[in-house]
């Protein structure tokens, strides 16, 4: 882990109480890449420390929730552990994995592509080019198992959520809202704009590792045609993860 500059330690996080089984370590109140990297860095450091009684570490955009068993460890001890780790936190990109996600854009698979193009004043091709041109960091997991909130989506594509959320968004949908993009792992209600769909399953209980993404990973999207989509979909249906992660260093 690289040494941290003084700017990293000038303002410590706030400890917020979440009952007797969880503690929130809040680094900020906004979506911000540097804040999020400190969150994931703390999560990683605490995980590596293997503290008895810590049940789970849930990073979010701007805070880390530490779930613990109060019959094993008390909140005060966790605060002390966190304090000790703060000077070494990094706001560099983490050592997560890079996932390249095949995506069929537009048409019935991405019913909002034309609308997004219209609202952003771009051509649909340009929207696809921008979306698939970025490398996104997974800020946090949430909403449903395996779903990662990925950023930062360029300002050119930033739109508020749909005013009328869909009751059913198909699983695999690749979507955008505000400065974020995501992949709906399973069918669910949703208010994001659907640009396309990936044939891969980000959450499949048949695999040893059912969920692919994790906070701190990176994601790139690349365009595929319908034939490739169908071929990959058939493999995914058979339980094949289809894609393999690369070291995050490959992202740059």
């Amino acid at each position: 882990m690289p040494p941290s500059g003084p700017e990293n330690t000038s303002t410590g996080p706030r400890f917020l109480t979440a009952g007797d089984t969880a503690l929130v370590v809040e680094f900020g109140t906004v979506v911000d890449r540097a804040i999020n990297r400190r969150v994931t860095s703390l999560g990683r450091a605490l995980r590596d420390a293997r503290v008895a009684g810590i049940v789970d570490l849930v990073p979010t955009f701007r805070s880390l929730m530490v779930h613990f068993d109060p019959t094993v460890i008390r909140r005060a001890e966790i605060e002390a552990r966190v304090d000790a780790l703060l000077p070494d936190l990094s706001d560099e990109a983490g050592s997560g994995r890079l996932w390249r996600v095949p995506t069929l854009y537009g048409g019935e698979y991405g019913p909002d592509l034309e609308d997004v193009a219209e609202r952003t004043g771009l051509s649909p091709e340009k929207v696809v080019e921008i979306h698939s041109g970025g490398t996104y960091e997974c800020y946090m997991m949430g909403f449903m198992p395996g779903l990662g909130y990925l950023g930062v989506l360029p300002d050119e594509l930033a739109l508020p959520r749909r005013t009328e959320p869909r009751v059913r968004v198909p699983g695999g949908s690749v979507a955008i809202a505000t400065n974020l993009t995501n992949i709906y792992t399973k069918e669910s209600p949703g208010g994001w704009h659907l640009l396309g769909r990936t044939p891969i399953e980000l959450f499949d209980l048949r695999r040893d590792e059912p969920i692919l993404l994790n906070a701190g990973d990176s994601v790139q999207f690349y365009e595929i045609d319908e034939t490739t989509y169908r071929d990959m979909r058939a493999r995914a249906d058979a339980g094949d993860p289809v894609i393999e992660p690369q070291d995050a260093g490959a992202a740059s």
């Binding site: 009952g19 007797d20 089984t21 969880a22 979010t60 109060p70 198992p145 209980l205």
Partner: protein, 341 residues
């Protein structure tokens, strides 16, 4: 395969154990028993570890048939009896273990006295583990039988074909199931999003449980809380027992199937010692809240662990169930009330 055949599922029971709280960072809710105390006692009665998988019952119990040489079961958390069907049938009171042999059919009726009860079976309900737990999370089809609630015709797989004969046990001390008094709450993590007056109201007024209640949470009805910094936050983590307050100001108690993160402020968190009580709530029940410190919450949890262990230590021997059944009928005739009345 030895199993309990589900002749009639009742009201969508689910298989639950201690849950999977260690994969919340992947977006997977903890799930698990809404009332882990009742689960532990039910399991102890049949000789299981406290966190073995059992059937969590809500509203209306199932009718089951034994498709194993023998099984040992215990129904805990309700006054409802196990009604053994057939000529030699009769009621077996709750809160005791009982051994049934192949072909026995038994029914559990309406659970009018609680939001949740457990049917534990010796060896546990033996469905595959997902992330180290057999708990069912129906929204994402995780755990249990194909990730769904139990339905008519299902086979609940058993870990063993038969169970040994031994003294049956009963839990005579049922004080744990009728804890009274306010639900204890620690303020935070976002109590600063609410007016001081409305927080004061949270701890003085009465709230009612609405019908909008499931394993994910219970919507309450009562005095609205007033947001003073808006009702959206950038998503942060959620813990079981969190009191989330969306834009309409009406608190929602978040239970085991809660989402792992969320964007509404949480005014407070029900302490872990009182979370099992939330699972027992029924629509229409009225509750009050009391503010306590984290230190007091930690002490309350330690006390709950001790008192639950004490309840289990004090199990008594139960008679043969047919004798019990006869006794039960006599008691009804003579007007003696049941153990949980």
């Amino acid at each position: 395969m030895s199993a309990l055949r589900v002749i009639n599922a009742g009201f969508a029971p689910t298989i639950q154990d201690k849950g999977r709280p260690h994969v919340q960072h992947l977006g997977v809710p903890p799930s698990g028993a809404l009332d882990p105390v009742a689960l532990a006692i039910a399991n102890a009665l049949v000789g299981n570890r406290p966190d073995a998988a059992a059937l969590e019952l809500r509203v209306m119990g199932p009718t089951l048939e034994v498709e194993a040489d023998s099984v040992r079961v215990a129904l805990v958390g309700t006054v409802a009896a196990l009604e053994v069907q057939g000529e030699r049938g009769g009621p077996v009171e709750a809160n005791r273990s009982v051994r049934f042999s192949r072909g026995t059919k038994f029914r559990i009726g309406g659970l009018s006295d609680t939001g949740v009860a457990y049917l534990a079976v010796e060896g546990g309900v033996h469905v595959p583990e997902v992330y180290g737990s057999r708990a069912t999370y129906t929204r994402s089809q995780i755990g249990g039988i194909d990730g769904r609630a139990v339905k008519d015709g299902d086979l609940l797989p058993l870990a063993q074909d038969s169970v040994g004969e031994r003294s049956e046990m009963k839990c005579a001390d049922l004080d744990w199931a009728r804890v009274q008094g306010p639900i204890r709450v620690v303020l935070g993590p976002q109590d600063d999003f609410f007016s001081r007056d409305s927080i004061a109201g949270l701890f003085t007024e009465t709230y009612a449980c609405t019908r909008e209640a499931d394993r994910m949470g219970i919507r309450l009805d009562g005095p609205a809380l007033t947001h003073i910094k808006g009702h959206d936050i950038v998503s942060d983590g959620i813990v079981t027992g969190a009191i989330q307050v969306p834009g309409n100001g009406m608190p929602i108690l978040l239970l085991a199937d809660h989402q792992t993160t969320g964007g509404y402020p949480k005014v407070g968190t029900v302490i872990s010692a009182d979370v099992p009580r939330l699972g027992r709530l029924r629509p229409g029940d009225e509750i009050r809240f009391q503010e306590i410190t984290v230190e007091a919450a930690e002490a309350a949890r330690a006390e709950l662990e001790t008192s639950t262990a004490r309840v289990i230590d004090r199990f008594e021997r139960a008679g043969a169930w047919l004798d019990e059944a006869a006794l039960y009928r006599e008691n009804l005739v003579s007007g003696v009330v049941g153990p949980m009345d």
